[in-house]
């Protein structure tokens, strides 16, 4: 089993969708919310995802395909000026 910490950023209609439920349901991974802030138009969730490495990769690709941005949970862009 592998574990990864990610930050999901939602925008627009995706805010309303139960994506985290679907991640667990469709890909059999465990999701553990550590921090979150969601308002009516935007939101972010810091999430630990636990599961088989391949499933985590597939799951996060699926999340991206729904227009949700996926980043490492603890870092923003590491490329600086």
């Amino acid at each position: 089993m592998a574990s990864k910490q990610v930050r999901l950023t939602f925008d627009g209609d995706e805010v309303k969708r139960p994506l985290i439920y679907e991640m667990g349901h469709e890909f059999g991974i465990v999701t553990n919310i550590r921090m979150a802030d969601v308002d009516k138009d935007t939101g972010w969730v810091v999430l630990e995802v636990i599961g088989e490495t391949e499933e985590i990769v597939r799951c996060l690709d699926w999340v991206r395909s729904h227009g949700v941005r996926v980043d490492d949970a603890t870092l923003g862009d590491v490329v600086e000026g």
Binding site: Q5, T9, D11, R34, M35, D37, V38, D39, D41, T42, G43, W44, V46, E48, R69, D71, D72, A73, T74, L75, G76, D77, V78, V79, E80, G81
Partner: protein, 409 residues
């Protein structure tokens, strides 16, 4: 000597030892250095500061690096210049320019890299590393050279030649990456987990960020130990912006200034403005962007401290603005023509946003304002080369000069 005693989570407050870590195990929040301010009060007095070196190290007790590890290439204590001509042009009474273009590698990054390399030496890292679009790369390469450490610099493969040379001259291992901005981020993040290197803005990030506080320390000292009414500073990751405010607060904690009421205003380029966009939308949640701006030193689409920058604006009653590429170029020229300071594109962003905030009435005419110019114009010469007037070209004859001058004017 440093009086740092712990790293603390900015979200849940949990404390950790002073280790090369950057996020909280519990909530994944970012870690920040904590200091013993009671001890610093005794160790850091006006006399001790004024008798210190004319560099950032005059404020050593409020920095995380112990003196035996410091790498000092002469960073800081840069001029605070009264900018009356620019003040008049933008429409305010009192304006100061904190001119950080004169640091050893011509940008404020020398302040933060000074902290990162000191802690890297203390933690016995084998090498320094960073991913950069220019200024950070220049600074880390110079500091590593001075410390005799190996250095790995990752840069996009379309970087301006001046910035490549500005790093290459110090002989680091320079790696140009063929890929998108996100690819560079991904590769460097993965490398940071695999290599025994100090990635300055990853595994030593809490210490690195502390260097920006010295901009506030110097400003307060140069103003006669007080904080200004207003700060206008550029925002990329948002770290510099939040640390300037932390710096004023720390000076108050140790009794060197009284009750700072500085309103913090942040400046971003329109083509990469996640923080300013969130501010304008009245949201504390920024949406990451794909950068598309000439201000590449501010091109952080997913700013690690974006949320904290928004909190700083809220806490201080400040705000944010954004400037188009055309406005950035105009502002670079305005600063140069009025004050004789040639700034890189980030400086253009700051001055363009200052002008805009005054025009909008967000900054009152009578607020004493400090604008932070964080990098020198020779680094981004390509951005302005097409904007300057064509030189007069003549044969070596005085009469040709006279005729040409008449036509020129």
């Amino acid at each position: 000597m440093s009086f740092a005693y712990a790293l603390a989570c900015r979200e849940c407050g949990r404390e950790y030892g002073l280790e090369p870590i950057f996020s909280c195990d519990f909530c994944f929040g970012p870690l920040e250095v904590s200091y013993d301010y009671d001890l610093i009060k005794d160790a850091m007095t006006l006399d001790s500061i004024e008798s210190g070196p004319p560099t950032i190290w005059r404020y050593a007790p409020l920095l995380p690096v112990d003196s035996q590890y410091k790498v000092d290439i002469g960073t800081g204590y840069t001029p605070l210049i009264r900018a009356d001509r620019l003040a008049k042009a933008v429409g305010i009474d009192t304006l100061w320019i904190k001119n950080d273009t004169v640091n050893p590698t011509w940008s404020f990054k020398d302040r933060v890299v000074s902290m990162a390399i000191g802690k890297a030496r203390e933690f016995n890292f084998e090498a320094m590393a960073c991913a950069s679009t220019g200024n950070l790369a220049n600074s880390i390469a110079a500091h590593s050279a001075a410390a005799g450490m190996d250095c790995f610099v990752f840069i996009p493969d379309d970087l301006e030649s001046g910035k490549v040379v500005g790093s290459g001259v110090y002989d680091p291992t320079l790696v140009t990456i063929n890929g998108s901005y996100d690819d560079v981020n991904r590769v460097c993040t993965e490398l940071s987990y695999q290599r025994p290197w100090a990635f300055v803005n990853i595994n030593v990030r809490p210490y690195y960020a502390e260097g920006s506080k010295t901009l506030a320390f110097e400003t307060a000292e140069q103003l006669g130990w007080r904080a200004p009414d207003r700060v206008v500073a550029p925002m990329a990751s948002g770290s510099l912006f939040t640390k300037i405010w932390k710096g004023f607060q720390e000076l108050e904690k140790i009794g060197l200034i009284q009750n700072p009421k500085t309103k913090m205003s942040g400046a971003q380029a329109q083509g990469c403005s996640p923080i300013a966009t969130a501010y304008e939308a009245g949201s504390m949640n920024f949406v990451p962007q794909k950068p598309d701006t000439i201000a590449r030193s501010l091109a952080i689409g997913n700013p690690a401290d974006g949320y904290y920058a928004l909190k700083t604006m809220e806490e201080t009653g400040g705000g944010a603005a954004m400037a188009s590429d055309a406005e950035i170029l105009e502002a670079i020229q305005l600063l140069a023509e009025t004050e004789g300071i040639f700034a890189e594109t980030a400086g253009g962003v700051t001055i363009a946003c200052l002008k805009k905030l005054v025009e909008q009435g967000a900054i009152n005419k009578n607020e004493e304002t400090v604008a932070y110019i964080t990098g020198a114009g020779l680094k981004t010469i390509e951005a302005v080369s097409s904007e300057i007037r064509t030189p007069i070209h003549i044969q070596p004859k005085v009469e040709e000069f006279d005729a040409a001058l008449e036509a020129y004017n």
